[in-house]
């Protein structure tokens, strides 16, 4: 069943044919390849069968409840796909004359307008292809801004200890030094520690709010003030925006730069890992320092003398932008607010129900996600967060994010999203409670999960120690 396409192939099988060449064949005079690339030899039907079969060994949101914390695995509306697949968008060359691409520029401008309202920022740049790329671009914008203001000594970026790994990694990529901010017992930024650390070397603070524990940083106005007072800028990681649309805006909290994840909050599909889109929004004073070109008023401005330069070819993942715009247009003002409210309600309800059996990392009202800790069960019963996760797979639920944030032991981070009905949440409660029972009665059985999948738990150490990263005759 799980033949690779190379193994499925048979010498001489041909897929799709080309039109006949109508002009004289021209043979290149330069040296050509010595060894041919060995692509699969399969007929069309074999291609179709192969990928149909592969698809049936993947679970998406289209199948199962996917409460993957911090990833916002909400429903991906099918209408988004229809909009993005309109030939009037897909057939457009990125270097076609400006007057021929007015529809694309309209998409960009409209989405920008809406996102500025949602976030309280003043302008957006859509070049970044993903969240981490947005972080990198946003930090580069800050770096560029500081440089142009002769503040080269500001080299330190603060990152909370609960932050996504992309935050410190992006900061380093952008040439900064990272300093970790501790969380306090309530799971929030330790404001006093931050105050003590902020100084003339401070370039920026990166923060997501609500944070990765699912908690709204109550002292956010003070936090941003501390950084601003120290002469730094504040960066908003938009991973958790789904909690606060229409409720609060990063722009109003004092953030200078944000990135959004259109593939999280704005319902574009994750596609098994991408393409995403990570547009960055800034306050007015930072606009000139954004990546170039800028799209404004139906024009593409290549000449942006203070821009940090280009982060990607062309204008970003346009197809993803069309999907996000479709989503925002359909939801509108009230729909977006309700989306965030129900995202919070679903998380709060699930947390409440689960807290009968499970320990929560923090005893605070969560926003759109929450973190459980299996520390007690790990100690008492010898079952880990991973074991619970694998047990969920066998019961038709995609596991929560495991072992994150790092500050929580045996963490499971749960984000149900607003598109799941109560019944699905109740069923998840039932499953998770059953798994705890199983952990108590037969932990061995739990550790053997998953058993309903095409393969069981995989030897990751072997994979990393003796990497086999491509098919070759003989490594079947």
């Amino acid at each position: 069943m799980s033949q690779l396409i190379f193994e499925r192939g048979t010498q001489g099988h041909r897929g799709v044919a080309l039109p006949k060449l109508q002009v004289p064949a021209y043979t290149l005079k330069t040296k050509l390849r010595a060894e041919k690339p060995q692509l699969p030899s399969v007929s069309e039907l074999e291609v179709v069968r192969h990928y149909t079969e592969c698809s049936q060994r993947v679970k998406g949101v289209d199948h199962v409840f996917y409460p993957l914390g911090s990833c916002t695995m909400k429903y991906n509306p099918k209408v988004n796909e229809d909009a993005a697949n309109l030939e009037g968008f897909t057939a457009i060359h990125p270097l076609a004359p400006e007057e021929d691409v007015q529809g694309c520029l309209e998409v960009v401008a409209t989405l920008e307008k809406y996102l500025t309202q949602i976030t309280g920022m003043d302008a957006f740049c859509f070049q970044p292809a993903a969240g981490a790329h947005g972080e990198f671009s946003g930090l580069m914008t800050i770096r560029n801004y500081l440089k142009r203001h002769h503040e080269d000594q500001r080299t330190v970026v603060f990152v909370p200890d609960s932050a996504h790994g992309t935050n410190p990694a992006s900061a380093v990529m952008a040439g900064f030094t990272v300093k970790q901010i501790p969380s306090n017992a309530e799971g929030n930024v330790d404001v006093e520690a931050l105050r003590a650390m902020a100084d003339e070397t401070t370039a920026a603070l990166m923060l997501t709010n609500p944070n990765t524990l699912g908690l709204f940083e109550k002292d956010i106005m003070e936090i941003t003030k501390i950084i601003h007072d120290a002469g730094g800028l504040v960066y908003y990681d938009g991973a958790n925006l789904n909690a606060i649309m229409g409720i609060a805006r990063p722009g109003d909290m004092g953030f200078d730069v944000v990135h959004l994840n259109l593939h999280k909050t704005f319902s574009t599909p994750h596609g098994g890992g991408g393409p995403g889109s990570g547009p960055i929004g800034v306050k007015r004073h930072l606009i000139p320092y954004l990546p170039s070109p800028r799209i404004e008023n139906g024009r593409i401005h290549e000449d942006c003398p203070e821009s940090l330069g280009r982060m990607k070819m062309f204008y970003g993942n346009f197809g993803v932008m069309v999907r996000a715009l479709t989503y925002v247009m359909i939801l509108g003002k009230e729909g977006l607010r309700r989306t965030s409210q129900v995202a919070v309600l679903n998380a709060r309800y699930l947390e409440h129900e689960l807290s009968r059996n499970y320990d929560m990392a923090i005893d605070q009202p969560c926003m759109h996600e929450f973190v459980m800790t299996l520390k007690r069960q790990h100690h008492d019963l010898g079952v880990s967060a991973m074991d619970i996760a694998k047990g969920m797979i066998d019961r038709g639920i995609h596991p929560p994010t495991m072992y994150f944030p790092l500050i929580v032991e045996e963490a499971l981070m749960v984000e149900p999203t607003e598109t799941e009905p109560k019944g699905v949440l109740d069923e998840a409660v039932r499953v998770l409670s059953e798994l705890l029972d199983l952990a108590a009665s037969d932990s061995q059985a739990l550790r053997a999960c998953p058993t309903t999948t095409p393969v069981g738990r995989i030897d990751e150490v072997q994979a990393a120690r003796h990497p086999i990263l491509r098919w070759q005759k003989g490594n079947e």
Partner: protein
Amino acid sequence: MSDYIASSPEELQAMLDSLGLKDLDALTGHLPEAVLLKEDGWDLPEGMSEFEALAKLKKMASHNRIYEDLYRGAGAYRHYIPSLVNALSSRGEFLTAYTPYQAEMSQGLLQSIFEYQTMICELTGMDVSNASVYDGATAAAEALLMCRDPKHRRVLVPASVHPQILQVIRTYGEAYGMEITVLECPHGVLEESVLREALSEDIACLLLQQPNYFGLIEDAETLFAAAAEKKVKGILHINPIAAALLPSAKEAGAVIAVGEGQPLGMPLNFGGPYLGFMASVSAMMRKLPGRIVGQSTDHEGRRAYVLTLQAREQHIRREKASSSICSNQALCALRAAIYCSAMGTEGIEQVAAHCVSNAHYLAHELCEKTKLRLKYPGEFFHEFVTVSEVPSGVLLKHLEDHGILGGLPLSDHEILWCATEVNNKENMDHLVELIGEVAA
């Protein structure tokens, strides 16, 4: 107004009740007053039905002009995309899955990425490939970073590289603290003598684009050999269609191959989503950024696939990671894999051969029957630059008036043309005739 909230109003209320809350607003009652958004605090339209939104987006799309016949490439190429590519890649399972962290429930996806990696290795001749990065330009930038070490912070790049790639690597280079030196290419390609003059021991790598921005074929083998004498690493940014015919990156002596995978089944899409591919020799495996899928076995010894070498990655290494890449272009990589499967070795070679023949026919006819002439003498693949006395704008406008998108104007008198397997003789003859009308 629509939303995608699944619970009924009664269920929402039941949940609120069990939390002891009155209404939805009560959920955020603990937020500081100062941050709460007033109802008129933001300006957004009302929602609408799916039907109305789609109608509005159709309207926007209609404000673009679709050219059935086009001769513009310059980094974004129109190729035929077999129908099965859309049919299979749009299956909900692929579309709505997350990065395959839970390997047991994602074997089909992991396997298809493993197959993609194999195909990229085959096309580039390299040993290992990652699961994709954002696009061809960022792939080039990431490749530079792979070559950087404290003693080697300089990069050589000829002016024959796509200007947007140059811009991106300049941005990334600035971040990484790498110095980019651009080498002049008066004849459109990097000459060995120019390279040799620039080479020195502190240089990390030489990046070439093949075929280059002007469509010309660089003598990559000679250039990388010269670079290697100074222990300078070779990075080849190769068009994946051209890769089927031209010496592979490995054969040319590169240690890293990168490129823009868009020609492998991605529509033009106003510039994205596209696909950055990256592959390298084994020795650099642990420097490759982004996701990589490896083969392993499960507890019963069954062959299984899993994300591997994660020790390089941000979610494990945080500030010590080799890059911050989290999302990549997985669905585009899947499209590329399906495209490569549907075409096969012979098919992709034929695409390449048709591109070459069509482009040479077009160039020949333009030079023969109009006053345009080729700017560069070198051998080209499927793009070429012409020079004309008549301004580029006049030529192109005339074509546009007849429903044809001509080449990209590089200057007032230079145009970069592209022909692929989808251009046909009849249309090319028509184009030549039209050009003849204004530049005879």
